[in-house]
Symmetry: C2
Amino acid sequence: MTVPDEERIARATISIVTEPGDVRCLGLTRELGGVRFLEVLREQPDLRPEFVAAAGRLATAEPERVLEDAARRGIRFVVPGDDEWPASLDDLAGAGMLHARGDVPAGLWVRGPLRIDRLGPAVAVVGSRSSTSYGDEIAGDLAAVLCAAGRTVISGAAYGVDYAAHRGAVAADGRTVAVLACGVDRPYPLAHRPMLEHLGQHHAVVSEAPPGSAPLRIRFLARNRLIAALTRGTVVVEAALRSGALNTASWADRLHRTVMGVPGPVTSAASAGVHELIRAGGASLVTDGEDVLELLGAAGEHLLDVRRAPEAPRDRLTLRARQVLDAVPVSRPASAASVARVAGLGAEEVEHLLHTLAVDGHVERLPSGWRLGEEARSTIEQ
Amino acid sequence: MTVPDEERIARATISIVTEPGDVRCLGLTRELGGVRFLEVLREQPDLRPEFVAAAGRLATAEPERVLEDAARRGIRFVVPGDDEWPASLDDLAGAGMLHARGDVPAGLWVRGPLRIDRLGPAVAVVGSRSSTSYGDEIAGDLAAVLCAAGRTVISGAAYGVDYAAHRGAVAADGRTVAVLACGVDRPYPLAHRPMLEHLGQHHAVVSEAPPGSAPLRIRFLARNRLIAALTRGTVVVEAALRSGALNTASWADRLHRTVMGVPGPVTSAASAGVHELIRAGGASLVTDGEDVLELLGAAGEHLLDVRRAPEAPRDRLTLRARQVLDAVPVSRPASAASVARVAGLGAEEVEHLLHTLAVDGHVERLPSGWRLGEEARSTIEQ
């Protein structure tokens, strides 16, 4: 099935004349189709206050030129109905509030060889722009582990956690996608031009806004819903109490995706937003890629056991031997008889077990009696 | 109501001849009373295998001498029925498994002026013995905040988190209680002798084991249940995957107390046990004393708002002004006309609002047009 040129051009026009995530325009585009919505816009520009601005821009919009120009620079415009359209974006239908942005985009401008309908199970790794080295390290490791497990890592190419996530994915030779608030041809932030170039050549850079669009605050908010929608789950690595990453997390929650958060020192403001998210039940605590894979894995897949410490020597002892060991003093040595009394076992049996325990250093015999061996003394549970 | 000497002496005897947390002996003591249980022990020492050891020690037990000796050294033996008996300990009735220790102690040996029936709402602050400076700092601050709010801080006087908690409580001039696995007259660990002396003189040091008892592993496990039972909630500050603090936490959970955990860097092994506890739903994440007070507070008391960042300048703007601000480019300046188009508002109104916004530095006017002011640029949510 292919999309008629007329519809693709209509949607390009809508992408040009409306702001990303304009719920009124996008909602009608979804319901009526691009061609029909444009007719509404031309015929009744004042049907809704939100239409006035968009209608005002129709005159100057040059969708064919923009599409050709984009194609020449290796940028394609993917719309619903295309084979490459990611079905996951349709979950945005009807989602969003007037000022929060929302709904299904009219189309996505894509740069790069990666087909966005073939990302497989993708995971968003987002977080603070002013991250700490701790956050960068965690984000990079997380992305690498997820990629090694065949997941695609999606983020926003921003400073800090976003950048670390993309870099970790690239380093692990995995798949990664940057979803931008500005045009896919605009290197923003400028310092990330080399990375964005690399992603554009080997992975994918995506935006709802047409090429040339500037980064505006509303576009970041609109962009966050796409990151959430394109993924099965969002991991927040460091986020201050007021952080856009939390906006992405709330989108993920609204879209019934899994929301995860990586804790950090409670003394770090960069983790305060994540802790609040977990504290309020808005996110599951994850400590590494395995935790994330477990939460996102299909039933039975990647199920983690409860973490256990490595087996301690005493675990290998018989119950009897443990009962004796538990009755041996930590510091001041005691006679075999007193150990037997405490353990509630026969003196002979205890005498025998103590000698066996001494062989592996569980206990040590001093002139004044028996006491725990050094290792046991140091692993006393208290 | 006073407890007959005969019963007190019987319970002292039981405390001397049985191990702390011996569920069989303590269960019967609770059901029959101390006097009657001792008769059983004398008459049918082989009624249960667990009785043999205890019965064997009856001959050498000298409860009167131990009680007098203790009294001379300022140590009292508090038993059920005494005014000073903490009702919260009765929650241990029937709790515990044969080898996990459990049930209500026959009595508690107490040193110090603090009455253990008047601790008010108490909180356990426990954690790793091999804590990091991070854990020590958190534990100390937590204890100080809890004490400042009138809570009593209870811990185990161990190295690391326990010590930091007691110290924080003392520094805050609050109430704190050390529950020991050995006799209250034994400075263990030896390095904590000065602190234990201080607690014995100004607060309270408590143990289920009679004076002179050595620290044994089973006694630590039995001790942990008392820390959990004496408190409304247990906060775990740093715990490796194999840590006794988790044993205290599971006791708190079994006793329907609130279990809380303070997260830390996921790269820190000292926090792995806490993260696992939170991950598995066994503990609520807390970041400071306020969180703890909120979780433990009576309904309506100490209810925290969701944490918010300080109000940002844009929060004080009208919706209209925000719409304009949201449409101003972050980096490359734009004309008022283009801002008006993006915002979907009239050119004149936007022109006016831009100048107003410029006054407070929300936007700045460059020769080439308008762009976000420095502060707004730096707080863009992405």
